[in-house]
Symmetry: D2
Subunit: 344 residues, 4 copies
């Protein structure tokens, strides 16, 4: 079987493994205080236009979300997010485990708008009983969203303005940020993400690393004692160099962006194959995830040779499914899949 | 500088890196449901004499402690441990973050006795106001302890009996379990640990892995829905194979035990060097950690060439310090250190 | 101004004050272990057909909800409830503060159906990624609901069956239970509530007491160590007799039921007044709360003399508002209001 | 039997009951926003020399402690307190339930010194691994302590200075504050308590009220959104007037101070009786609680007629026990007890 069901099917980009091997016998400090972490921080800081001290390396996305949100919110506050947001649906209540409600707003397709943020904030403060309700304390969005949608720079700028008016921080989950930045047609750069958010992270796990997310706390007011929070969440890796070396490798020659661009390019070819065959899509994704709507028969046919994810039931006869590309997708496998789609 | 300050200074045992490279392009399921994790579970199950389904792989020790304790306790219960226990001192309140009090008992040197457990349990239930106090809900010990001390099989058996009488589980933190099992003079085997505890874990991070702890939930009554707990704690690695491959490598040819034995052997030679020089020890450790008591002058002399950890102030002139060996300690560095100790 | 905005505007039913005065100099044990609490428990147990040990007295509704839910759920579980449920909207995240997600389901008018419970349970367990989602751990309903709606005995029986199939407990918030039991047309008795739920409470605060809710843990499996939970939640009143004496008074001669019946009777007269004037209602309430939909002009007119609550915006010209009756509503005030409604 | 085992054996001071009866039919807003609460706040503000908005009324002590501490601390911080402190021992982990460690320091007799606070703070920040430890985030003391001991003004001033140096707030649990202020020989006034703490509370439950603690948030920086915290902790009483009316009554003519003075005067007579009989004391208490050390025989004799509390085992033959006086102690009962002590 050929696997397309996710973007974390293989190990790490070979350069990362090579670098791990090269540095293996170096003796370094633990807990992220080694020179590799320092250099990775410097490289990312340069790429984002922020200070190196803004950057912390965590192991995974759920961990990063819970740690950041727990650090930002006061106890009586919640995280505003789209109802389809990862923290609302797929993290087994990791945010609630820290005592905070996820204030889920119904959304068309996974994107939150500035208007929704303003309305949610106004509804809270205009309600005479607001002390009886969880106070909106931050806005959480993903870029790309769960469905591969992207914010435009104008949309992010508007969200930023809405957050500023409300006096609450904007947190961007970038578990697949690389793919979003590499998407054809996007006008959002890494520096834009840094300039328009209070906190965001650059996902490594799904973009070539074995594991690791680089959290960037752009807003200095939110940086205080963050390493305590990392430790308290069980997220401080003893051999922190493992994260440093990976992000160093990903950011020193633009590998992160190259990997993402290659995967997105492959996804676009895949998309074209579905479109050419007249197959509609569940979501408009210009990223490495594609969500064609397939009939049961089409699914059965492709499932003989390929693994892909069930995403969402559409009607009695059809489901949205997910195909992902990544740094590890081979030309050979892609070509086979494209040919089989054409033959559907 | 030559580093002896901890046992997580280098990367991973070369065999692990090699195996990661060999398996890199395999496509596997995420979240610990791949074949490498399955094989690692089978190998560990065999080594421990438990069922494979008892075993889960987590990333780090603090995370393992908090996740296990949170899974075992009911909200009104706390974890009984030695005052020097890692969960009480060095985890930034990760247990309290889950809502549970650490019931710290003063201990000579880090070991908890069956008598203390019995007394703590009796004191709670005999107090007329016990509902106003946190109920002892599990016993947490480390083997080896923070100071490298070891329980005997008789001591563990007695603790087990005390826990059974009290009706509360026994949880053994095995972050350095390998070193404990390899210690000269110990009568405790891995199968003993499994037979005498309700839950324990086999530390990988400090015994040759890049990262990873194998949690063994011996008691089937405590296994329910544990994967939810892992996810909720942000501890479910997307590329779970990274843990599986490492433990597979460590357990398929006894590498885990070999690594530990070699490091302990080196530590014994280091110990002898200090003892021959007439230097006393802070704790009786037969493991890879040694805690000589050095004068300020002795520390200054060694610090010219070696890095070691400050452990505890002893008096105005002396401190206990820590030297660690590991799989990565070289004969050359050890010989140099031994020579320099002799010359103190 | 004459107040109709809530049912907790005045102190306590005069019989309660009298009893507090009569017993004031008695010396009793603290923390709910006095004879008044014992007698109140016996009276309620008799009324409900349960054992006296099922019953605990707490101070308020939010406290009762959070304490009960925290006692029932395991960490990875959440409370299924209607999106309009009090725990989801109006308790400032008191449930999330205990680490649990509220699994809010969209509902017509505040009632949850057996079908919804079944669907929610099935959706969770049928999802291949269910370990990544919060597990439904109990069902929370209010009787009456926030909008004064009532379950029929058949509906409660169906919910009970759905909960049994799912293996999860049913918790009924009875902050206004008295009014629900006194509603014209209801076929649900107190004994039905006890027979069909795992836990429920009998609200005192809104039905004649100064404060206090009688929690009835019908299911013995959920009773363990509940007093620890009360204390841990800061909910164990030192002078617990204050709660015991009140519930003793309310339950020894049926005062609780008489108070509720009188208030509901008054509410029905109020309802008729609105209906006679052709005013529609936001919800079909046969309880002490009425939710007429008034134009802005109608609101302005009534607001000259009466205080009532804004409930929900209906359109640009109209809002749903709330009028409540209680044990303390006077015939004189009711008559005045009815006359003024007729004159609208 | 005549009861001396606690100071919450009876109902409320008769003036409070009378006032509750007089105001019973008034219609007031809920949740502490009524005129009685406003007037009580004004009276207490005047007595303390603080602003009225500093004051909130909560139901009980454990609730007040958990709510205040949860509002002050950031997640990675803990509450420094004496090992014997109420929050450390007798609140079933209510502070840990909010995610915070109680940093218990061993103390002679229940009082914490400025030196201990300084040492604890220095030890934390001087430790190279401080991010791995819970950060001291506030200092909690009780005045009087659990054993009836009192801080002098100089001691409180020194604690204040130590807290200022450390940059952490000082929180004073005043569950029995009235008795402390009325103690012979104390130089601490209510205004001193307000001037030297960041937050404190004036206990009502043990000083004449049915229930209620008046929390005074002296430091404006800690006041933000405190009502959300009250609600989130299930501590916002619907009929908040019940607390307002009681504190209004206690503070309008100095009743609070009169009650406390009378009880302390009685306790001093009781103390003299024990001392005259040659009986030693477990703690030097100048408050309403007395802790004589009685032989088993003496205990048995007194237990024929009186109820008192066991406090602490002293040796094989003797225990410390507790006798309390209160507003409700009668001259007749006191005289009987004194006579029986003399006859021991």
């Amino acid at each position: 079987m050929i696997h397309f069901e996710s973007d974390y099917l293989e190990g790490a980009h070979p350069k990362i493994l090579q670098r791990l091997a090269e540095t293996n016998m170096e003796q370094t400090s633990g807990y992220g205080e080694d020179e590799h972490c320092a250099r990775a921080r410097a490289l990312i800081a340069e790429a984002c236009g922020v200070q190196a001290e803004a950057i912390h390396f965590l192991v995974g996305g759920t961990q990063a979300n819970a740690t950041v949100i727990d650090a930002i919110l006061r106890p009586w506050q919640g995280a505003v997010c789209a109802a389809t947001g990862h923290i609302n649906v797929h993290e087994t209540g990791a945010v609630e485990a820290t005592g905070h409600k996820v204030l889920a707003l119904p959304c068309e397709g996974g994107k939150l708008s500035a208007g929704q943020v303003r309305a949610c904030h106004a509804a809270h403060w205009n309600d005479a009983t607001h002390e009886h309700m969880v106070q909106p304390g931050l806005v959480y969005i993903s870029h790309p969203t769960e469905n591969g949608e992207l914010y435009t720079r104008a949309e992010l700028t508007a969200l930023r303005a809405a957050c500023d008016e409300a006096g609450i921080p904007l947190f961007i989950d970038g578990a697949r940020l690389g793919y979003g930045l590499a998407a054809p047609g996007t006008d959002v750069t890494l520096r834009d993400v840094a300039a328009l958010s209070d906190v965001f992270y650059i996902g490594g796990t799904k973009v070539g690393a074995l594991l690791g997310e680089a959290v960037v706390i752009v807003n200095p007011a939110l940086r205080r004692d963050f390493r305590y929070m990392i430790k308290r969440h069980g997220a401080m890796l003893a051999k922190g160099r493992l994260l440093g070396i990976q992000f160093e490798t990903l950011f020193e020659d633009g590998l992160y962006f190259d990997i993402a661009a290659r995967a997105v390019n492959m996804a676009m070819r895949l998309r074209r194959a579905f479109a050419d065959r007249g197959i509609p899509f569940y979501a408009e994704s210009a990223t490495n995830q594609q969500f064609p709507i397939l009939t049961h028969a089409q699914q059965a046919r492709l499932a003989e040779k390929y693994v892909f994810s069930h995403w969402s039931r559409v009607d009695d006869h059809r489901d949205a499914v997910r195909f992902c590309t990544s740094w590890a997708t081979t030309e050979e496998n892609l070509a086979a899949l494209i040919a089989d789609i054409a033959a559907l």
